[in-house]
């Protein structure tokens, strides 16, 4: 007989109460993943800051390297931020009536796709101007940091499309939307920091 069962007389043992988890497994897993990704980007940003500080007093971007399109990317950044806000509105709509989240979710995906598409166009233009991974540490950091973010954005967009398909079929659960939304918020919120550090 275990110590626990000995503590309560027969028939008096309290029933185990099964509580709802504070956070769903999906959201918890995503938060842990986001924590690791935040540290990954923090490492990249720190390395960039140190390399840039070593070029203090010299030109940055280095001589012969093209300037990054600051203004165009600012518009792109705005599209991404609006996408995050619209996704939050989709979440609120989903809580009221799941099917009413279809349009805001689609709009959020569209804005995210616009961001990725124009970033891709920017890359093509910069490659044409001679900025490559090997051209300088400036180019190396640009493609590494922005490219890593783009990979995350594409993956998150894929997940958003998956949620939209499930929503369309009527099988989307709130925890699934919350998990994917957490990933997209990470993609949206980390970008202004990258823009500030890399472009400005």
């Amino acid at each position: 007989m275990s110590a626990n069962s000995a503590a309560y007389p027969m028939g008096r043992r309290p029933e185990m109460v099964r509580r709802e988890p504070l956070v769903s497994n999906g959201v918890l897993g995503m938060l842990i993943f986001i924590f690791t990704e935040v540290m990954f980007f923090a490492g990249l940003i720190s390395a960039h800051t140190i390399v840039r500080s070593q070029a203090a007093g010299q030109m940055w971007p280095p001589y012969g390297q093209p300037r990054l399109p600051v203004e165009e990317t600012a518009i792109n950044t705005a599209a991404l931020l609006v996408s995050g806000i619209v996704l939050f509105l989709a979440w609120l709509a989903f809580r009221r009536e799941p099917q009413s989240a279809r349009i805001p979710l689609l709009l959020s995906i569209l804005l995210g796709t616009i961001f990725v598409f124009f970033q891709g166009l920017e890359w093509v233009a910069l490659l044409g101007e001679g900025l490559t991974l090997q051209s300088s540490s400036y180019g190396g950091f640009f493609y590494l940091i922005v490219g890593t973010h783009a990979l995350h954005a594409v993956a998150a967009l894929g997940a958003l499309v998956w949620t939209w398909v499930r929503l369309d079929k009527g099988t989307l659960q709130a925890t699934q939307l919350a998990t994917v939304a957490a990933f997209w918020y990470f993609v949206v919120l980390v970008w202004p920091i990258l823009y500030w550090k890399v472009y400005l």
Binding site: V23, M39, G43, I50
Partner: protein, 79 residues
Amino acid sequence: MSRLAIVLLALAWVVALPEVAHACPVCFDSSDENRQAFLVTAAFLTLLPLGMVTGAGLWLRKRARQAGQIEDGTGPPDA
């Protein structure tokens, strides 16, 4: 020797004895900007995980309290 005297002596030891030690061969550069960048990024990378873990802990505590209020019937049902 009283406990206070020992503490004061230890503090004086800590304040008076240390010398600047350049333990990291790459963390020192002739330029001020580079040295400052190392300091800032070291602080950033140290504090960031601590901040995230603290934030997550506070958020979970808030959720746990809300859940407790719902079970007790003292909080709003949609909290």
